[in-house]
Symmetry: C2
Subunit: 96 residues, 2 copies
């Protein structure tokens, strides 16, 4: 089973009010080293058989990203079924 990840982010020149709201809240948490926060969408497409990046791109173009204000990148992610659920559960970081 393989998963294709589509990361959709606002274009750099587009204002990100959500991200700014988080950035403005950081000093109250005592966090000062972060200069900017950008928030986008992460979509996981699970394929039955072999993952098809072209099909994933077509879906992203048609349904997942608004090309006027957003850009997207596509990644292939091998799903190791049990471990992923366990890793996601504990929210372990995975400094790639």
């Amino acid at each position: 089973m393989a998963r294709v990840l589509v990361d959709v982010m606002l274009k750099p020149e587009i204002l990100d009010p959500q991200g700014e709201a988080v950035a403005n809240a950081l000093p109250r948490l005592g966090v000062n080293g972060i200069t900017s926060v950008r928030i986008g969408k992460r979509i996981e497409l699970e394929f039955e058989g072999e993952p098809d990046l072209d099909q994933a791109r077509a879906v992203a173009d048609a349904l997942l990203a608004n090309p006027v204000i957003e850009t997207f990148t596509i990644h292939l992610e091998e799903v190791v079924a049990a471990d992923t659920a366990e890793a996601a559960e504990t929210g372990e970081e995975n400094a790639a």
Copy 2:
């Protein structure tokens, strides 16, 4: 300059109506190989100096993820300033 990515997804047992809406629209696009669609948040935290994964985790815990229904994973992403903007622009896939 380094960026920490926080990926926030709904827990597997939580219903994802957005993802289901996209999954139901796929046959109309002629896409049949995708068995499930899950939609979450991708947050980019840009650090001034050295990235601090513990600080990123504290921000994720406090502001970015609801621990009752969501899990998050943290990744370190080296930002190669110019290329990333250009790669994002062309929406190039990056089958990692």
